[in-house]
Symmetry: D2
Subunit: 478 residues, 4 copies
């Protein structure tokens, strides 16, 4: 799962969502759920709660645990709530972009939060602006709200259905509308959205979350996923499910399994712990090598490194120690310290590394700059050989479905061969997990694939207008 | 001028606006201007600056001096800026309602702030919602932006002109649009909006502000007012002025002179210091009485009390001392202290009051509850007689043009005779300044009045839909 | 009274003290009392409360109203408390120097706060250090505590008595010791210390404060002063008073009346309001002049200006308006604004000043730099003539008894004649109140004077070791 | 290493120390060193720097990374510095107890910080108080300073030497005195204190720290430990080492290896990573059992669990996932969530645990309450059998040498048999590492032991006055 505030060379997805219907402490449950989803975004968080009449909203920059004090939660009454935790992308860091967005329109009051990226957002915005819409933020959630407001349908549910059909790209959506919670997933099902249920004295409570770890904390149990193209309404009549459109070819984001989700979550029906362990096992078959020790790059490389160790029999050890305390104010001394930025986070354990042939396992390699520093640090700690293994294929294409990727020009694997990368990083050998093996690890073994591997293949599951432009800029919506 | 954070029985207007065009440190000038206008609203403040291409916005809860740090100002580049300082009304206290509002729409990027109250805002919102508009806040600024976006006119200036013609009520508006600053005042000219000019090495700089005290701080000089119904554009072609509509009967808010503006401002062309002094002089003619000392209720009653003293020859003294330090955490001891809330703010000077016949001068009397406590405190300090004089007529009607008034039911003068009020307050005599004399004090002596006296007469200068409803609720826009 | 956070050319005294015995909400009363004394120091504040067994202490940088939240007050139980509010002097701004100091020693637990300056503190520190004392701060309170601890007396009261006899200089002291509150004043009585009494259902409550305005807020009544050389104990046996030493020639700080105290306080038995009024009246006799208007420099010059006006018949007007909102982040635009620092605080009212011969009244003139700017500002507002009047004699000597004065070299009147000062300030005439008249104003009319005028005469009431050194440095204790 | 802000049933040591001599950015190096030592105390932190003349000190509640901003570091000039990070113990949580303590005394200015617990502090305080010392805090550092001040020796070094000889108990001390850094360790060497060296263009720089991980971050290399009973001076003459007293029987705290230190540190000359690995290996020999998986209680049980796995061949897996985000505001819903407090921190991975026989490895077991909840959580996740293994012997006695232990009455192993504990915790089997094996793991294999095992044996290496009293209270110094 993502390293908190790690200034590292990682891909980041944007945002986590949560929703709950039918509980007298809805906002507090949302608070707890968001805490479990904190790794999906640390810039800002928000909750919108409702008693079926009014909608109460609070959002702020910062961490979930710091934002939702008792007095803030007191100001969020009602039996239903949605919540959002947001990842920061350059240039749009402002509470204006925090979610949920809560508005009044001709269909009543409505609050929306989403996880993903609408690939035709620019076109929709432009069209909506032509019809007089005004945009206060750069979030796609605002686009969705405008589509709802401009719809000719009469009810919120109908208008929302119509709006969803206009969207291209990735979105897992949570909505408070009238007396109901409505959630939906795009027809490809890029981003996850799980359904949970709590049984209380007053009847069932329905919860929805980006990851099932949010259910564990509040004692809800996972009952399945919102399906691609499905809209689920939790309201006075219980749970109603319908397909607002025909599901398209499933294209679930494989990166959720590679890196983004917590290992204790079930994502797309597959336990993340298992898929990662298997990635590691299969990775041991790529360019097999004799070595003394397997060392993960913490925290995200741990599960694959263990799998590698189990399969290869090479012992596993924590040869790099992570300092979890973070801050912003570190000043490098004028007599520079080598790899200062990495060292504030990671420290090698000389006793584990000295004189050894070391296999480092990481879950991804984006620009290569951090890996270079880590390899150097491991060598300086006395490692005889350093072999780097990545538990996914080379990242050659940017993501337009919600993962914050650098431009193609910055992706080292898009521009260099594996051996060139190895030379840049200065490791003895470098190997990636092949696409086939990654598919096996996430159990994507049907004739028709259910996953999106675009970042590894460049084959995007949706048509992309302006792909040239997309390739050279960083879409930063959530 | 208004007492900062005073939990007193005062009417409050909502908000101050500022704009500047043509200065390389536009945002800093806006910061300084807003500091001078801080008395017009202490809840939140914001600035939107622009270099003609992008608009940069920062708003936050709190005081101007605390919000706009050097690093915040660094994030607000450009040669033009608008700013706003907002007064808090119950129920809408949130950064979501802070101004300016900055959006993108079909006419480009635009930022708006205003001071006043659009009386047909609810109707316009409803109509705009019918056409698909969504509202994120309860501010009328958002209504104005939607009207601009929905206009069929092609340029921002034209669209704004069209939008303004649809508005009823009170508004003094500042706008950043394209490469220009646009400001406007409603056809009745309820709220003030002054024009200033700074001469710099690089040419003239134009500034606009609710009050001229904002010019003094930055060395700009006052060159007149934006006229009722006028729109002024400061842009690459200098200053252009035009009437976007026929001016209506002028209805300038007399309460700006009675209480709201700073005494060092010129408002509606009349120095506030002078009008207040004259109110006091004329007040001495109402129910003239022999007394030992004139004591103002600080700070707002001072100027009128001095005028009273000058006219009557009765000596003036600061018999009530104000504690300017404020905070929110005072806990009354369980053995209650009489008039605790008032005492945290005001302390009587026994040496001035004891054994004396005292004339207390205040600028307004809304519910009467605070006056009652002050009179009691003055008596307890030994005053032999207490005579209360109010430097305006009895407040009998709520304001719908931007002053935060309680409902008619709460206005003591709307429900009781002067003598009943005197009994409630328990003073020896009570007198108000007559309407005629108030008119004289503000130099409203033409055949046709230029001021709005609706709060004293109940005669509203505009047609009001739903007046019944308005009378019993508190409109809280800015 | 002192201008809050005013970056002006004013002398500042250091600190206010408060104590209460016998009330179940002692800490809250101390909180309220300190709020009333806030003008005596805005850097830090602290309260030490006790139930007779333990002492609870909380101190922090900042304003009283911000520091003592409900939860902080909850942590300060007990039936007695002392409090302190501290003025910041350069170089020692740290919570380490905040008072009260609370320690355990061989005589038990004890907490101390004081107002003043021990002139032999350096010698005592050095001697105490020779005997092994360690000093953690630069506050004289620590010296007093060490003297208590090093005393051979057995009880806290006796040890305190012995300690007090070793101190030279100015001190008004409040102490929590065992089951009692002990307060004391130096033998000259430099600094004020008033006694108040509240009658409650559970018997009398005794309070002590630097100024009586602290009593007014909590409904206590003033019953007199702690006498010079007196020690007063409020404990289980009620109030006991004794002289711990022979009182010396009284030398009460006249500057308390000139500037420092609130006008609603009684200080040294004389209402401050009255003495200031009289200063103004008598000031009108110094270099009498025809003029159109009397304008005070707010807030501290107001009372004297009114007295001047009453005596001379020349009308009084608020020709300079003060902005009470303060902050630290104002950045002067690069095209400099003349007198920017002063303007952030004061704005001239052109209508009052233009074309007029103006008498400006201020309560003191230290370096002359601010006065110069104010005169220039008044002239720029159109004044025809500007006459400056100071309601005390020329300040020619630094204070070593608790007022924060610049060094002799910086005091303009110590180095220039009145006419040279007039030229520097560029006013038409300049006059000071004579020493004789100041004495009359504070009722110091006995054969033997009861006041200290050292800042105006250079005649210090105590012997000063190292006077050369003192003259060129700024003592910064409290 | 200790879990940050973990509200768990763990023993905690108090504090980490750091010192540096001879670097122009001494305070910044101290900042970085303290960041690496942050796990040793998260309540408050402080740095005292010096240029040989003045000492500059800053301390504050909170985390190192938040406290030492660029502007704070600017206020800490000089070529030497000491730093301290403090662990919070109940009842003394206040900035008053933050270290270093910086004072002036008859030997000059001196600043001190220490890690440990002086067992005769109460006696020394009482004696010092008899001689007039006053104590402002409850920290033992203050006692040390008073001893220095009361010494008849003339130089700081000599006085410090004398002072150290009077202390009983555990202390690793860092001092700024005059133009030198002085560090010392108690004669038993309870707490660690390592020496490091940086080679710079301007010559060698000496650093000292509780753990060597602080050297790694700043590129210093470990050159050995300060010996028990040794005092090391880094000053103008380079490094001088001397024994200020005869070293006593070494009694190094074994708990540093069991739990407290970071695995990437070398403590007492032994890499912590290695000792913990070995503890796990040897633990596998205690009550060996067939099981499906080894699961550590993160983060501190990881290293031992890996050792257990390596030795036993039973696969290791992260079956409990830790949420590193922490906060204080979580409110349990009124329909209680089982083991809510533990769940906010740990979440079981069902895929790893379900149907399995699980060996849980933890590094200590204090009261047993948290273990009970974790076992229940693991069972609820489907584990068939749960076997708990502790990588140290039963904790039966409180520590008086710097580890924050509950009273004997609260230590479950002091009051119950292993089988009773097993029943309480409700695990299938429970086993502890034997004392012999723990000794082997930390290489304490000489005839004479070099470690203190008092918490496991009750045999204290020093004579303890008032042992009865100590057993029932919680000493809370640092």
């Amino acid at each position: 799962m993502p390293d908190e505030e790690l200034p590292f060379d990682k891909l980041h997805e944007e945002c986590g969502v949560f929703a709950v219907y039918g509980h007298s402490e809805a906002a507090n449950l949302a608070h707890l759920g968001l805490h479990a989803l904190q790794h999906r975004g640390q810039e800002s968080a928000g909750i919108a709660s409702s008693d079926g009449k009014l909608i109460y909203t609070f959002k702020s920059m910062g961490h979930v645990a710091d934002i939702f004090t008792a007095s803030v939660l007191n100001g969020l009454p009602g039996y239903m709530a949605i919540g959002h935790t947001r990842y920061s992308t350059a240039g749009d860091s402002s509470v204006l972009n925090a979610q949920p967005f809560s508005v009044s329109c001709n269909k009543g009051r409505i609050a929306v939060a989403h996880n993903g990226n609408i690939t035709n957002a620019a076109e929709l915005r432009s069209e909506l602006e032509d019809h007089g819409a005004i945009f206060q933020a750069s979030s796609d959630s605002e686009v969705i709200l405008h589509l709802v407001a401009h719809s000719n349908q009469r009810t919120l549910a109908e208008a929302l259905r119509e709006a969803l059909m206009l969207l291209d790209g990735a979105f897992s959506l949570v909505v408070v509308a009238g007396d109901s919670i409505i959630v939906a997933r795009d027809p490809h099902g890029f981003r996850p959205l799980a359904i949970g249920r709590m049984n209380t004295a007053k009847g069932p409570v329905y919860v929805f979350a980006s990851e099932t770890c949010a259910f564990d904390l509040i004692d809800a149990h996972y009952i399945g996923d919102v399906e691609p193209g499905e809209m689920v309404i939790a309201g006075p009549n219980g749970l109603t499910r319908e397909f607002y459109t025909l599901p398209d070819r499933p294209a679930q984001c494989v990166f959720e399994h590679v890196y983004f989700s917590r290992p204790d979550s079930i994502v797309f029906g597959v336990p993340v712990q298992q898929s990662r362990e298997l990635m590691g096992r299969l990775l041991s078959e790529e360019l097999p090598i004799q070595a003394d020790v397997i060392v993960p790059i913490p925290d995200s490389g741990v599960a694959a490194a263990l799998g590698y160790s189990h399969a290869s029999g090479i012992p596993f050890a924590h040869g790099l120690i992570r300092n979890h305390y973070v801050g912003r104010t570190f000043i490098e001394p004028s007599q520079a310290i080598r790899d200062f930025g990495v060292r504030l986070k990671l420290n090698p354990v000389r006793e584990i590394l000295a004189g050894k042939s070391v296999i480092l396992v990481d879950d991804s390699l984006v620009r290569g700059t951090t890996s270079q520093k880590i390899v150097r640090m491991v060598r300086n700690a006395g490692a005889r050989e350093v072999h780097l293994r990545i538990s996914c294929p080379p990242t050659i294409s940017p993501c337009f479905y919600g993962v914050d990727t650098p431009t193609k020009r910055e992706l080292i694997a898009a521009n260099q061969t594996v051996d060139e990368i190895r030379q840049f990083i200065d490791c003895d050998t470098l190997a990636y997990l092949s696409l086939d093996k990654l598919s096996m690890a996430v159990r994507d073994t049907n004739a028709e694939s259910h996953f999106c591997y675009a970042c590894y293949t460049g084959k995007y599951p949706t048509e992309l207008v302006n792909i040239e432009e997309l390739m050279t800029s960083r879409p930063n919506r959530c």
